[in-house]
Structures are given as C-alpha cells and as structure tokens.
Symmetry: C2
Subunit: 230 residues, 2 copies
Amino acid sequence: MTRPVVAMLMFPNFTHLDLIGPHCVWGQDMDIELVWQDLAPVTTDSGMQILPTATFATCPQQVDIVFVPGGFGTTDAIANPAALGFLADRGRTARYVTSVCTGSLLLGAAGLLQGYRAAVHWAFREFLKPLGAECSTDRVVIDRNRITGGGVTAGIDFGLTVLAEVLGQERAEAIQLMMEYDPAPPFDSGSPEKASPAVVGAIESLLAEGKPDLHRAIEEAHTLLSSGKA
Amino acid sequence: MTRPVVAMLMFPNFTHLDLIGPHCVWGQDMDIELVWQDLAPVTTDSGMQILPTATFATCPQQVDIVFVPGGFGTTDAIANPAALGFLADRGRTARYVTSVCTGSLLLGAAGLLQGYRAAVHWAFREFLKPLGAECSTDRVVIDRNRITGGGVTAGIDFGLTVLAEVLGQERAEAIQLMMEYDPAPPFDSGSPEKASPAVVGAIESLLAEGKPDLHRAIEEAHTLLSSGKA
C-alpha cells in the first residue's frame, strides 16, 4: 500500500500544538508536507521556528489529506489570497479536507465548508455560520470527507480519528499506545462548561481583542470568494 | 514578577510532541530557550525541522526549569558528552529539573536522578533503575524538585502540573481552557494495561529493536559519570 500524502498548511503565528498533535499521530505512516508560500522558517504564536518542506507551488497536486491548524495568526492567513487559493485548489481533489482549532475558519474562508458541519475552538463558534458552515460543539466532527477538530489539544483525538479512517482502528490503537495517550488532566477546566466563570471570563477577554479583525478578514474573504478570484 | 526562564533541550530525532506539549502550556508565561549544541535546525524523529534559540554556551546559566524530551534519538543523545554536561551543569542550579518520555533517561545519565522517583515512557521502565532512580508508573511524578512525565502525550498533563507549581492553579486552569484540553480519546488503548495484547505486542517489538544500543549507551554514560568527566 502506498503511504498517504498529507499537506499541512503552516502560516506565521499558527499554534504549533494544533498541527503537531496530528503530525505526531500520522508521522509513522504518512508522507507529510509542511506547506507555506516560501521555505523560510515559519514562526508559531509561541515563537518556535519550524521549517516548511514545500511551497504552494511545489506541494504535490493530488494529496490524500489537506490539513489546516489555527492560532493567533488565523486572521492574517485568511487575509492571504495565496493561502486561500492553495487550500481551495488542493481541497477540491483531496480525499479528506481537515482542520483543528480555528483552522476550520480558514477552510471556510477558502469556500470548503459550505453546507458542512464543522468544529472550531470553543471561543470562536460564532464565526462558522457566516462561512456557510454549521457549527458543532463536538470535539471531532466527521461530515462526509470533512473532518474537523476543536481547539488545540483536540488535534490528538482528531488525529487518531483520521488515522482510524485511513488505516484502520488497530493501527490507530497502536499509535495511541505508542504515544501513551491515556490522558489524566490535573484539573477539570478544559471546556467553558467545566471551567470556573472567572477562568472562562479571563480567556474570553483575552481572545475578544482579535475578533473585530477576524470578522473583517472573513467578510473580505467572502467577497473575494464570491467574485471568483480566490 | 519576572517571567520564569526555561531551557528545553532538543537533539536529533527527539519526539516533537514530548516537547511541544509543555512548550504550548508554558509559552504564554515563560521565556523558553530551545537548546542544542549549535543553531542549525534540529530534525525530530518524525522529520520536522525546528530551529534552536540557544547553544549549550549561550543558554542562560541560571534557569528556573531544565526540560528534556525523549524519542528515538535518546540513545545518541545519551552518548553525547556535551549534552550530558549541559544537563548536569544547568540541572545543578535549576529550580526544577524535568522531563517527558525517555527524557528521564537523559536526566539519569547526567546524574540528576540518583535517589529520585521518576516517570518514563511505559516501554522503557527497566532503564531507570540502572540510573539510580526509582521508576514510578504514575503519569506525572513530583519528587522534591524533579518533575517527570510518562510517554509523549503525558507532556500536556506534566506541563499543566508544572505551570500550577510555578504560577498557581488558576493560571494552569486558564491555559487548560485556552488549549481546550478536555480529552476524549476515540479508543481506550493508551496504556499497556488497557490496549489489546496484539497492540501491546506490536509496539513492544518495534521498540525492542533499539534497546541493546540504549543499554550500552547508559552503561557508558555511567562509566563517564563515575570518572567525573561528564
């Protein structure tokens, strides 16, 4: 069997764990390209620098999985027509079109979630509807060939779900054991329903700062998409 | 309050998720150096290339946290006297000496776990005793200022535990919410007690291949340490 080919988009200020969860799950079995517009190091939103392996031009045309992470740089990536064009192009023929965290907003801005159910980071659920998608609060959502995960750490659950789809449940169970994924969070604050109101409020305030710009970027992408230029 | 300073060791063929779990948890609040012997990109055991930010020479002398990941490159890193020397040096004065996965074998080889309880990836538990450490099967182990985590994904639970120690539980709960860490593994195979015998056997066979070399590297590091040259 040939190894599945994956195109993982990177962009400045993406959240590395969004991508590295599934990258670690898939890395033994799939050929993964890390794709950006050039091959210079991409800096994540925590300052780590990671090297792309392909550009929009050199990434294989036909891929099995297109994947998009999220993070604080989502807004700027949505405002980048070349990034949206790349997603729209590879997404058209990919076997699976996927994302974690606010990566689903990028898929939506590229026109790939019209009429699909999708997941997104809990604090950004209001942004899916304007993109033509139906927001689900599930941690991992499969709707036909769209598979999307919630915020950041959901990428591990998402990655195992996709691996089971592509290579079967026994392989996914083996990788889960290899990664010792038997989680035991020290606190129970991982969702807005479970965290204390003070903690929810602190994170909502922090993330609210970037929302007006994100709204604007999504509107502009929508206009671009409607004009057929993306 | 000044931001805690962290030195995270990288080395060829380390497992990126071991490091990026805690890096993502700590990244908002701590100043993190990614350290290797030079500044060329370090290739992880899944082929990703990450740039160091400091060398053994330029990393701050006094750090709050020393951290070591594990991975398939652990054996070669144990055979690297400069890496062990760096750990022994910074570990002597660090407030916390920490690891995830087989990173604890590196701490042990640097002489930093003599008489301490520690965690390690489940498939490598036999290696802690020859290093003078007592192996614990807990996912995260705190013994005085040594804090160690189990395999790969244990790094997220480990990272939150350390963050709560350093900055308090409320901050750790907020970061947990930001990372939407409310895990829902699609399968229940994350530990050797839970996975099927076939799955456990497959991973044990795969990992057994590297064990003779690892045993040898640990013996040689022990000799080096006893001679006082590390």
